[in-house]
């Protein structure tokens, strides 16, 4: 102490002391505030999970069981992850309108906050695929349209049709159209494999390749119909129908007119 006290009247003592004091206060504050923040987040998350649980109990538990353990009519949701909930509820597939062959896309019943709460609740049950963040979904930057097209034709077109218009599966099941679907939902469908769709994990199709597929889908969606009316982009069936009705129909009309006798 004697050594220190020797410098107590030094001209640098006061500014140094001030700097130490400021650092001390700042450091204490930052540590203190950091602790507070993480504590509130945990609190917020547990409220979110609780909110989600309440929504689940009201809207989902009648089929999926009170603890999401699943019953005969509906599968267990333990371990399906937030991505699955975000896809199924966010696209309106869940809750199902009726117990038909397949949940169909419709206007979502829950808003974004409620979907987030439900997703948090289901994710809290066991770890599973997470909702892809906006940073990950930068398909415009990280994807390649041509590569995405090849991947789509290799992995998706056999069910979803060459232009992503959807197609029939067995026993009334179907692969829906992928047009007009949010990039987030396309990504989630690939990782979670909803309905009859297989899971395309990150080893089968890497995240970059998934983004390429999304980029190709978005490019097909935005592509104008270069040859005139698209006729649904479903191949020769509608073309044949038009050839017989409008094509031959018009020509027969003209033939009748040509063969009419002048009166």
């Amino acid at each position: 102490m004697k050594r220190l006290s020797r410098f107590r009247r030094h001209k640098a003592a006061a500014p140094l002391l001030l700097i130490f004091a400021l650092l001390g206060i700042g450091g204490t504050f930052s540590v203190a505030s950091a602790t507070t923040a993480s504590e509130t987040s945990a609190v917020e998350r547990s409220t979110l999970i609780e909110e989600g649980r309440q929504i689940f109990l009201k809207g989902c538990s009648s089929c999926h069981g009170l603890n999401a353990e699943g019953v005969s009519v509906a599968p267990s949701l333990i371990g399906v992850g937030a991505a699955s909930v975000d896809f199924q509820v966010g696209t309106g597939r869940m809750p199902m309108a009726d117990m038909s062959t397949q949940a169909m896309r419709k206007a979502p019943v829950y808003n974004d906050e409620e979907v987030a709460a439900l997703a948090a609740y289901v994710a809290s049950l066991a770890p599973g695929p997470e909702i892809p963040g906006m940073e990950l979904l930068n398909f415009e930057r990280d994807g390649s349209t041509a590569e995405g097209g090849e991947l789509f034709r290799n992995n998706c077109a056999m069910c979803h049709n060459f232009a992503g218009q959807g197609g029939a599966l067995t026993q009334g099941k179907y692969a829906p159209t992928v047009m007009g679907v949010l990039p987030k939902h396309i990504y989630e469908a690939m990782v979670t494999g909803p309905q009859a769709m297989p899971v395309f994990n990150d080893k089968t199709i890497t995240p970059e390749e998934k983004l390429s597929i999304i980029k190709w889908i978005k490019s097909a969606e935005a592509e104008p119909n270069l040859g005139g009316a698209s006729l649904g982009r479903v191949g020769p069936v509608t073309e044949g129908l038009l050839a017989w009705t409008l094509g031959l129909g018009l020509l027969i009309g003209v033939a009748v007119w040509l063969a009419t006798k002048a009166k």
Partner: protein, 527 residues
Amino acid sequence: MTVEAKLGQVANYVDERTGAAAFLKKSLRKVFPDHWSFLLGEVALYSFIILLLSGTFLTFWFDPSMREVVYEGAYQPLEGVKMSAAYASALDISFEVRGGLLMRQIHHWAALIFMAAIVAHLLRVFFTGAFRKPREGNWIIGVGLLTLGIVEGFLGYSLPDDLLSGTGIRIAEAIIQAIPVVGSYLSYFAFGGVFPGELFIPRIYIVHVLLLPGAFLALITVHLMLVWYQKHTQYPGPGRTEKNVVGYPLMPMYMAKAGGFFFIVFGVTAFLAAVASINPIWLYGPYTPAQISAGSQPDWYMGWLDGLVRMAPPIETYFFGYTVSWNILIPGLIIPGILFTGMALYPFIESWITGDKREHHLLDRPRNAPNRTALGAMSLTFMMVTLINGGNDLIATHFDLSINQIMWGTRFGVFILPPLAFIITKRLCLSLQRADRELVLHGRETGRLLRMPSGEFVEVHEPISPEKAFILTSHEQLPALELPAVDARGVKRAGALKNKLRARLSNANAVAIPKVSTEDLKEIESH
């Protein structure tokens, strides 16, 4: 010298060297009957000319090669993708050749209309009995043209080497392989090795642009020359007999109408090509055997064949190390073989049943040949059921049905519905004959009611015009063939079984409501 004199000199110069004047004088006055249904064959003819013209345009840029190239053209979503030169050049025609996409679409729409017009023309000829003597040969040429059209259309569909084309070729390969014993050798022969190889597109290209169009031109020429020589058939009517043709001369009436009609057919085809997309190959992507699209379909004229294959149950048998795939063999080769052979031979089958070996230039009204009309309706129903199953996946998704339900429905439907169509159509024809008889006997119901002095209400009937009465009564009703099993001396005749079948068919064919006779009318008048 006047213009007329100059023209006369030129005409004389040509005539002195070719003798064309006599031929033209006769030909230009040739008479053709006038009816809209006689123009269906013309639609097919004009579509064929459009196909020749637009197809020639396409050959200027199409590269029929399966050499692998990297695409560097205008269509961004395929930038840098490996594909065959054939597909790349088809993309270039669509996006880089001026008017190329329009020409491609005109070519494809014209092909669909060509086939539709052929089928419509065939139905007209069948239902009116225009195939009867002396036109059996021309009927067979027509069946040949239809068959060639199906093949030619399929080859055209296969040429661009997009994902849909390749899928079609893959199915054709499967059908070739299904031929017992020699199938796999034939497939090696056609593809020059294992599917897809590098030879198939160049091979079908030369068949598509040279061999088959040549065959078409030859057959169409014979088809039309026969129409010319045998003269056109006509619908029954006053003044029309088996010995004359009532109509308009070729020049000027028919020349003007037919010439104008060509441009209308061209116009309708170009209109469709301008407003409606057909075969958007850039969306399908290049063909690789590992890929397939949901809802892959052939063009409509192959749809029935696809539907048959789709409904076939998976039956295979093994003989001495050879696999016989009945599931492909029956729907892909045997049934089409039976159908087309039966169709080609039908004129002979019908004349065998009726025993009618006379020439016919007056057409039948379909109701007056109930058996034939019912047979046609039966065949059409068969085709429609199989065609529906050809599009079962699209019907399932668009009408919220199960693809399995549609498949099972058509599996049963293909056996149940055609006979049902036969019975219903035959009864409808007989009912229409009955209605004709009523009309001739009692006239048209005017809807005017009269109250008689006694208080009774009666409807006033108006007699029909003599022209109409003639049309309703001029057809002949042939009795069934008399084919006794034993001859006059009580000896069993040769071929008794065949005769029994022929007699049964003849009896069924001769069922008719007796048409109004002169005695009937006298009877009515005496009231």
